[in-house]
Amino acid sequence: MARIELRNIVKRWGPVFGVRDVSIDIADREFLVLLGPSGCGKTTTMRMVAGLEYPSSGDILIDGRRVNDLEPKDRDVAMVFQSYGLYAHLTVYENIRFPLRVRGVPAAEHDRRVREAARMVELGSLLDRKPKALSGGQRQRVALARAIVRQPACFLMDEPLSNLDAKLRVSTRAEIKHLQQTLGVTMIYVTHDQVEAMTLAHRVAVMEHGVVRQLGTPTEIYDDPADIFVAGFIGSPAMNLVRGAAQDGVFHAPGLSLPLPQHITRGDLVLGVRAEDLGVCAPGEGQFAADIFSIEPLGDSTLVNIKPGGALVTARVAKDYRGEAGANTGLRADPALFYLFDGATGARLRLTGQGRI
């Protein structure tokens, strides 16, 4: 159980930056998710904590101890790889036992600890099998057990659910969350799936191009995104973002006008609003007005898409909505639920001290 600090971590290969100045403090027993698209640096960052890669500059501390120069085996971290990294020629039992043998744990202890770890992931009956005789979900549990058996200070997980089918993903997600709480380990979890991040994390670090765009709880990054990237990455369907300009305190874009709480006039702005905050109304009664572009019934709700001025705007409405593509309609949201971003930098604009804008 450990506290992990990343201080100004940079990783570069010549002129190419993988990670550009990342600083995160992870509390003991925290479940931290590194979230972002491919190439954002999340996996590289985690591998640097593991010791599989070394930072070009910056410090990594585990429980206050600088570990930059330590090899993985000296860092007391356990890792679950995306493709599990199981030893193909060993049985499940031997796979789980491997770390104990390597580290010279007294042989008398092995059996008890292996069986305990196997029990925690419900692998008891599969101990004699070899990895190739197991399903994907079972292999993943072996990888988990192998990490658990070491009783490390920190768990690292590299997209552990990405190779599982959708249904299994949901159940395994719950298991992982439960496991982390039961074991009380500090967890760093890498994923590109925002649903995983939202459901599992205590805090999420949203990364892009090697920097952390925002570090916060799931609620914080959902309700209070720090910039356009985070706003657009989190939430499904993605937040509606419309480019426009403000004139005398009113935001204007094709098919949209919205009074702003501050009397400003400037160009290059982006307005944001979440689909679930938008409802259908008569044209003219809401901020948006346009012809319906398409309707997507999801079963539990319905998505209504309009394209005012070319940009796609989506509203999530009740599942019994009946409308027709092509009919003119309006979309309306509570004015307090809009976000405003700088069009050039993507940064979130908070013009007043209160509310979202």
């Binding site: 990783k11 290969w13 599989l52 890669e53 070394y54 930072p55 070009s56 930059n68 120069d69």
Partner: protein
């Protein structure tokens, strides 16, 4: 990518790692010298005057001469053997590659049992020693008067080369997706026409690699030409073996011959190294 050494420029310097890398480098240098030295020395011998070549202690500084090459090529008609080898090699390539390619293509696409058994048969043939088929050729060619001819050698080489060729071609064709010729067939081509129009333009990498090995096989073959030729169709390997390996007087000449034979091969290694390595390894690692 390295399997064990962490090739991370930011990794802290560990004394064991650097030492291991230097030791590996030294070992490889020694190994490279050990591999190449006989050829290097032969090269030197071929350009030394005999008095320098066979002096003890060995002489490293000397006045080079090309007289042995001149003598070999001009006086002893070495070019004649080169011509024979060129004809035999070219003939083998021209016949073996096309029939091997279409067979390899068929094996890559045909799912039936027949294909499997053909491959197994080819494998067994490949394991056969040369002597299993050599002697009948010897006898029959003498009776039919084709003994000591180019065509005989070409036929024999084509046949012993087929098993290897169809295996190699097959694995290349398996990397070409079937959609390519299927699109052509849907457009109206027969299978063969589809092959010509869709596959042939993209099969060259595989053909080149297979040709390299066929070339080497034909060029380097010793036992077959030794038995099946006498004076007219003799190829280079046989010719050089007759240059009196023990008689010291012929050594310089022999060395010049050895280098002459080796130069085309060295050129191939320099140009096609990647393909050669890829071809050598392909059968083992994928199988």
């Amino acid at each position: 990518m390295s399997i064990d050494a962490v090739r991370d420029p930011d990794a802290p310097r560990r004394p064991g790692e650097r030492l291991a890398t230097y030791a590996a480098f030294l070992f490889l240098c020694l190994f490279a010298v050990y591999s190449a030295f006989p050829f290097f020395w032969t090269l030197l011998t071929s350009i030394k005057e005999p008095v320098d070549a066979f002096a003890t202690p060995p002489v490293w500084v000397f006045d080079p001469t090309l007289s042995h090459y001149a003598s070999l090529w001009l006086d002893r008609g070495f070019g004649w053997y080169f011509l024979n080898t060129a004809i035999v090699t070219a003939g083998t390539l021209l016949i073996s590659i096309p029939i091997g390619a279409i067979a390899g293509y068929a094996l890559a696409r045909y799912p039936g049992r027949l294909g499997f058994w053909l491959l197994i048969l080819a494998l067994v043939f490949r394991a056969l020693p040369r002597t299993a088929i050599l002697l009948p050729f010897y006898q029959i060619s003498r009776s039919f008067g084709i003994y000591d001819t180019h065509i005989l050698l070409i036929l024999v080489l084509v046949s012993i080369n087929q098993p290897f060729t169809i295996w190699m071609m097959r694995s290349f064709f398996m990397t070409i997706p079937a959609e390519i010729e299927e699109a052509a067939m849907v457009d109206g081509c027969s299978r063969f026409k589809a092959f010509l129009k869709a596959i042939v333009p993209v099969m060259w990498p595989g053909v080149i690699t297979t040709s390299l090995f066929t070339f080497l096989l034909a060029y380097n073959e010793f036992l077959m030409p030794l038995i099946l030729t006498a004076t007219k169709a003799t190829t280079l390997p046989v010719a050089i073996s007759q240059f009196g390996a023990e008689d010291i007087r012929f050594w310089s000449l022999s060395a010049a011959g050895a280098i002459s034979i080796t130069l085309p091969v060295v050129a191939l290694i320099l140009i096609f190294q990647k393909r050669i390595v890829g071809g050598l390894v392909q059968g083992a690692v994928k199988g």
